[in-house]
């Protein structure tokens, strides 16, 4: 590393509102991904090794740095499908090294379209 600051606690200029650096790192997103409408290309990411186009409306996101277990939280960003329908995104098949995103349209059918997600939890 070119440089680093080692502190345990951060405070504001008046010495108040302290927060532990572990609180900051533990609360940071551990992964983010954004994929395109074809379901087979990533265009923005962090801590992702690959994207799996698993089936219509189903993607698998593989971690580079694994999570400690499968109890992490995934939040999703929504996108319209090819027909302009608003979609519902669900997380499925969580493991410490990957998870699936399932996207449904308003007819409750699996549907392709852009998706993005972020992960919060503990790294391995």
């Amino acid at each position: 590393m070119a440089s680093e600051i080692r502190v345990n606690t951060l405070k504001d200029a008046s010495g108040n509102n302290s927060v532990a650096t572990s609180f900051v790192s533990n609360g940071s997103a551990k992964l983010r991904h954004a994929s395109s409408t074809d379901g087979a290309s990533l265009f923005g990411s962090f801590n992702v090794s690959s994207l799996g186009d698993t089936a219509t409306g189903k993607e698998t996101i593989n971690f580079t740095d694994s999570m400690s277990d499968n109890s992490y939280s995934v939040t999703h960003g929504n996108g319209n499908d090819h027909n302009g329908s608003i979609r519902i995104l669900l997380t499925d098949t969580l493991t410490a090294s990957s998870y699936q995103v399932h996207a449904y349209n308003t007819s409750s059918a699996l549907s392709d379209g852009p998706t993005c997600s972020t992960v919060f939890g503990d790294l391995a």
């Binding site: 379901g39 087979a40 992702v48 690959s50 089936a55 698998t60 694994s66 090294s97």
Partner: protein
């Protein structure tokens, strides 16, 4: 090529932060198509653009065997939480790879051994047709029509792994 700091013993997360900050993302058109169940459509793996940059620069990613060890732990019935995550951070990182050269015969092979089920890549050519094919993005169907019926062609011989 950017000179990678000595990263053995540095948390993989911190290495990825360094790579994101210092390496130019590389969008690859390589795709790995595989079938792991006769009842499901073919799956398609796309490498991540930042991951490819880290793989090609070298010194960032752990050996793929580390992921296998963690997968073994997770497969145990009494698995609760990883206790050997240090393997990701303390094992000497792998050197630079191109698509088809360097450690593991290139980062395509590394990625297959990391993210494709072992049951597929260890026996990809045992059968009447390959269970796995490496191709370019433009060799995939151009539309998503009948996506759930996509299968690897019956016409491919098991020695034609690279269609590009």
């Amino acid at each position: 090529m950017t000179v990678t700091p000595e990263f053995q013993g540095v948390h993989l997360w911190d290495r990825l932060c360094w790579a994101k900050e210092n390496l130019e993302p590389h969008q690859s058109d390589i795709r790995v198509v595989y079938e792991d169940s006769v009842d499901q459509p073919a799956k398609i793996l796309s490498p991540d653009l930042n991951w490819v940059a880290a793989a090609e620069n070298g010194g960032v990613l752990p050996p793929v065997e580390v992921y296998w060890e963690l997968a073994k732990d997770e497969a145990q019935p009494d698995f609760v939480k990883h206790t050997r995550g240090y393997l990701l951070h303390n094992t000497k990182p792998v050197g630079p790879m191109t698509e088809t050269s360097g450690p593991y015969g290139g980062w395509v092979n590394y990625l297959i051994m990391k993210d494709v089920p072992q049951s597929v890549w260890r026996t990809w050519n045992e059968g009447n047709k390959p269970k796995m094919v490496i191709c370019r993005k433009d060799q995939l169907p151009s539309t998503r029509e009948w996506r759930n019926a996509w299968k690897i062609s019956e016409d491919l011989a098991t020695d034609e792994t690279v269609a590009a």
